[in-house]
């Protein structure tokens, strides 16, 4: 697992948070996570296959998710379990990962990455576990709260 996997996702996330949502983004810290990590409570998951197989996670607290959804839709929400909060999270995951894999496919022709539709999980004491995948995280600090970007990759055959 090298940083070349996560860099396009971080770049794309920062661009979307700044340009689309108008958030302030402060520099992040990187972490090696191994095969599992504890969620902050709200997680968007997008899978990809092709030359690299793996997952992209966007992990945040419920409060951050509510704030992001409000910024997107202009409405107020009281709970992170609101369908529109989940849908906003899914849409963000979709946009960010879509941008990132376009970037990756342009940089490494022939990888041919493709995305699965996003899934969103929210709840208490969430933990994520990826079998035989190593993951790397970048924690970025935004004006809506900290957001963790995690990418887990298994390098497949090209």
């Amino acid at each position: 697992m090298s940083t070349s996997h996560i860099a396009p996702f971080v770049k794309s996330s920062v661009t979307i948070f700044k340009d689309m949502l108008g958030l302030e983004v402060k520099s992040g810290t990187t972490e090696n996570e191994g095969d599992s990590f504890a969620s902050r409570g709200f997680s968007v998951i997008v899978g990809f296959t092709g030359g690299w197989k793996g997952r992209f996670f966007l992990d945040m607290t419920g409060a951050t998710a509510i704030q992001l959804a409000s910024t997107l839709t202009g409405e107020e929400y009281s709970s992170m379990a609101d369908e529109e909060v989940l849908l906003s999270g899914a849409e963000l995951g979709n946009i960010i990962s879509g941008n990132a894999i376009t970037d990756i496919n342009n940089t490494y022709p022939g990888l041919n990455l493709r995305l699965t539709p996003p899934s969103v999980f929210a709840g208490d004491d969430l933990s994520m576990f990826n079998v035989r995948l190593n993951s790397c995280s970048v924690l970025i600090d935004t004006s809506a709260g900290p957001i963790k970007i995690n990418v887990a990759v298994e390098e497949g055959k090209k």
Binding site: K53, T116, S127, F129, V131, A152
Partner: protein, 153 residues
């Protein structure tokens, strides 16, 4: 969602549970998923890309997951849901998805799967895809298992 894409997953699950020696896995029902709440605390997601695009999610209770892991490891008692049962249950999901896509391939649809991810937690709400999700319920000696299938057109 086309119903003909559901059968390969049902037979995939039944095939693999037979292979692993799970006790009397049977389909007990099929329904549309109407609420976001899931009462199951163990969920394994596998993504589908290619001829079909979507997600399948296996959901079950922690106790069922431990029982399945125990059966898969030849009856070794599994009391805690730690790394070993997690790994075993992900492997089962991977085998089922693999079996299902080879069934789909025979129908002329080439589908690639992502590695499994296990999400566990309490009081969970989940959105599996932005499309209608079908839930197929199964029951076995190890406990009930739900198969959520969300395929985009």
């Amino acid at each position: 969602m086309d119903i003909k894409h559901i059968n390969p997953f049902i037979s995939g699950l039944l095939n693999v549970s037979g292979m692993l020696g799970l006790g009397g896995m049977q389909r007990t029902g099929i329904s549309k998923r109407e609420k976001l709440q899931t009462e199951h605390d163990v969920n394994i997601i596998i993504g589908l890309v290619g001829g079909l695009r979507g997600n399948v999610v296996f959901s079950m209770h922690e106790a069922t997951a431990c029982n399945i892991a125990s059966t898969m490891m030849g009856g070794m008692p599994v009391s805690q849901f730690d790394m070993m049962p997690r790994s075993a249950i992900c492997e089962m999901a991977n085998m089922i998805a693999g079996n299902s896509v080879s069934n789909l391939e025979q129908m002329g649809s080439l589908v690639d799967i992502t590695p499994p991810t296990l999400v566990s937690g309490k009081n969970m709400v989940s959105l599996i895809s932005q499309v209608e999700t079908l839930v197929v319920q199964f029951n076995s000696k190890e406990g009930p298992v739900e198969l959520n299938i969300a395929i985009e057109e």
